[in-house]
């Protein structure tokens, strides 16, 4: 066996990558004349030491869990879905149409309706690239990224020409009726004496994201469909030989992926903004790729990675508020983490693997 132990692959590699990213970020912060230790302290205090900070972190993490799961499901069938951004936008359109035009008596029903809307719209947006990949062999990376632009243009058109209230300046829909508003963590956990999660956007859809993690785990490792998806991912020809239809698996995996990406919009559109706004995805569709890579396409890993990125986003806001680090550099710091944990994965893994193999050989001697 020329592989390192599983725990090292799952824990050590991401940790070392993170450390490298942190060191590089510290150098960047030093270079512009700020103190990196103070910056880290600020990020931790503003995020983990305040309930409202947690509220923001969990809000961002909810987005990243959905989009991370979306990327992971497709990835198990060896499909690289980078259209999460577009699928989430169209999912948001589904949420908005359901919330605006169906009179719900209670938020629980509205949540069910919005979930259905998000899944159907998001999945529909993934269907065309899926079909093109399955039937015509058009590469999914190209088609899904193109569909991001089409989705942005479509959302723009719908908001400006159809959903914008007359006389409004913002390209945004009207506010959803009050009965569709999801309870926030503040509504759920704060009492008169302890104002927890004050003003933070985390809401009940966080639990929906947790449930989605469990469902995806069950789907991938405990169902026949999951087995088919994984077989397709390992070897298409072998799966075909075993009687698994590649067309069917590709289309279904992409539909699930698109549906999950669309569900992200429940959090941002119904949960936070309570109206459809133009940049509602806030780049979460792309962050989902990094989250899935870092989480090794496993729902538990995705949960952890989403929390980390939630921390980075909320911590980044704290930096923007209380230091003179410009927002472009905060983006650089976030990008460094993505670069190291996602793209430069092998840079850490290969030397580490060599170390482990060296150790093993010495033991064998």
């Amino acid at each position: 066996m020329d592989r390192m132990p599983g725990w090292a692959d799952a824990v050590l590699v991401p940790l070392i990558s993170l450390l490298l990213a942190a060191i590089l970020s510290a150098l960047v912060i030093l270079a512009i004349g700020e103190n990196p230790i103070d910056a880290l302290q600020l990020m931790v205090e503003g995020t983990l030491m305040r309930s409202a900070g947690w509220g923001y972190m969990l809000y961002y993490a909810t987005n990243f869990m959905f989009t991370g799961l979306a990327v992971a499901v497709a990835f198990h069938a060896r499909l690289f879905n980078i259209g999460g951004e577009g699928q989430a936008m169209i999912g948001g359109l589904g949420v908005a149409l359901v919330c605006l035009y169906i009179p719900f008596p209670h938020w629980t029903l509205a949540l069910l309706g919005a979930t259905a809307g998000a899944i159907v719209f998001g999945a529909a947006w993934a269907l065309i690239p899926a079909y093109l990949q399955a039937k015509r062999g058009s590469h999914i990376v190209i088609t899904t990224i193109m569909f991001n632009f089409i989705a942005a243009a479509l959302l723009n058109y719908v908001l400006v020409n159809l959903l914008k209230p007359v006389g409004a300046m913002d390209p945004a829909s009207a506010t959803f009726p009050a009965t569709t508003h999801l309870p926030s963590f503040q509504d759920m956990f704060a009492t008169a004496d302890t104002p927890l999660f004050r003003g933070s956007p985390a809401n009940v859809s966080f639990f929906l994201a947790l449930a989605a993690c469990v469902v995806v785990w069950l789907l991938i490792w405990r169902t026949r469909l999951g087995y088919e998806i994984r077989s397709q991912g390992f070897s298409e020809s072998a799966a075909k030989y075993a009687g698994i239809s590649p067309v069917r698996v590709i289309v279904i995996a992409m539909l699930i992926s698109g549906g999950l990406a669309g569900m992200m919009a429940i959090n941002t559109t119904q949960g936070e903004a309570e109206r459809l706004i133009l940049n509602m995805t806030e780049g979460a569709g792309f962050i989902g790729i990094a989250v899935a890579l870092m989480g090794r396409n496993h729902p538990f890993g995705i949960f952890l990675a989403a929390m980390l990125f939630g921390f980075l986003y909320q911590g980044g806001a704290e930096l923007a508020l209380w230091t003179n680090i410009p927002r472009e550099l905060i983006t650089v710091i976030q990008a460094l983490v993505i670069l190291f944990t996602g793209a430069l994965d092998n840079m850490v893994r290969m030397p580490l693997e060599r170390v482990f193999l060296g150790l093993r050989r010495r033991d064998a001697r």
């Binding site: 933070s200 936070e272 508020l321 927002r327």
Partner: protein, 334 residues
């Protein structure tokens, strides 16, 4: 118990001191960013002037995402910053959501409108852009040889149509036969920062005969001004004084004194008077820029005509139609 009490007392005193030490103003820029050479930068300049003159400091933040709008308001208010000044109409909804939770903090929304009855701690500052645009429209018509002038707007919203409508009225007041070509860059916030498209629109208007172009388009306007200078025609800047960008090529700039509004809000500090304030020609909230860079372009004759019209608008003799009052424009169709 007594130990506990004195400890709590000390903690409370500390907290109070921390609050007092932080009673500095805060400034929140819209997504366009701090250095857009136009709207947000004007706010920054006003704040910086206040800081230089008083020796005090202020906090500011450039937003990265929609969710941060409310967050920035809350965090600044919780830290005891007062007043919290914001730029751009997109901040009015978040302020309306937040203001009730922090009754002791004064919020200022420049270009936005928050109902003063509902939120007594919010000041909405609006500008009579149509009046300033009317004056630069007059100057444009007088400077034009072809009788055709252009307007390039940023995002197609009522606010920008208000600019265009005032401008067209000013042009028609000087030359009733003049043609006004009006184009908008786009329908999304991206239209505020697309200088390439601005340049294309300017080229298209020049080919239709325009020889003066007014750009009310934030960062997009930089492309309009550049193209106008390259093609040797005149342009008109907006919000900040942009005459210096292409000396001798920028006829004038429609000033919107966001800097003065910011400066005044910070000078007033926590005692800021709230409510709705409309800054027009009479309050020097809008106007046109005259400096060394355009002194050869604006003749005495043009200047006296503009000054006369300005006085008439202040006295109420000339009524400039405000597009946003009824969503229509008598001088221009969109």
């Amino acid at each position: 118990m007594t130990v506990m009490k004195s400890f709590l007392g000390a903690a409370a005193t500390l907290a109070l001191c921390a609050g007092a030490a932080l009673a500095e103003p805060a400034l929140i820029y819209d997504l366009g960013g701090k250095f857009d050479k136009s709207f947000n930068e004007a706010a920054y300049n006003g704040a910086q002037r206040w800081a230089d003159e008083t020796g005090n400091s202020f906090r500011d933040i450039e937003l990265q995402s929609e969710a941060q709008r409310e967050q920035a308001l809350r965090r600044f208010a919780e830290a005891g910053m007062n007043p919290v000044v914001t730029t751009g109409f997109s901040m009015s909804t978040p302020i309306a959501n937040v203001a009730g939770d922090y009754p002791d903090t004064k919020f200022v929304t420049i270009d936005g409108y928050v109902d003063p009855e509902e939120h007594p701690n919010v000041k909405s500052i609006l500008f009579s852009e149509h009046q300033g645009s009317y004056l630069v429209g007059m100057l444009a018509a007088m400077a034009s040889d072809s009788g055709t002038v252009g307007f390039v707007g940023g995002m197609d919203i009522p606010l920008i149509r208000k600019f265009a409508c005032g401008y067209a009225q000013g042009v028609k007041a000087v030359n009733p036969d003049a043609t006004v070509i009006a184009n908008m860059t786009g329908t999304t916030p991206a239209a505020w920062n697309d200088p390439v498209k601005g340049s294309e629109l300017a080229t298209a208007q020049i080919s239709q005969g325009a020889d003066v172009i007014f750009a009310a388009a934030g960062g997009t306007g930089l492309g309009v001004l550049q193209t106008a200078a390259d093609e040797d025609i005149l342009s008109i800047g907006v919000d900040s004084n942009q005459n210096y960008l292409h000396p001798g090529k920028v006829l004038t700039s429609m000033l919107k004194r966001v800097d003065v509004a910011t400066y005044d809000a910070m000078t007033a500090g926590p005692d800021l008077e709230t409510g709705v304030e409309v800054l027009g020609l009479a309050e020097n909230g809008v106007g046109y820029a005259l400096d060394d860079n355009n002194k050869d372009l604006i003749t005495d004759e043009m200047k006296s005509a503009a000054e006369e019209a300005k006085q008439k608008i202040i006295d109420g003799e000339i009524e400039v139609h405000d597009y946003s009052s009824d969503d229509s424009c008598p001088a221009l169709s969109f």
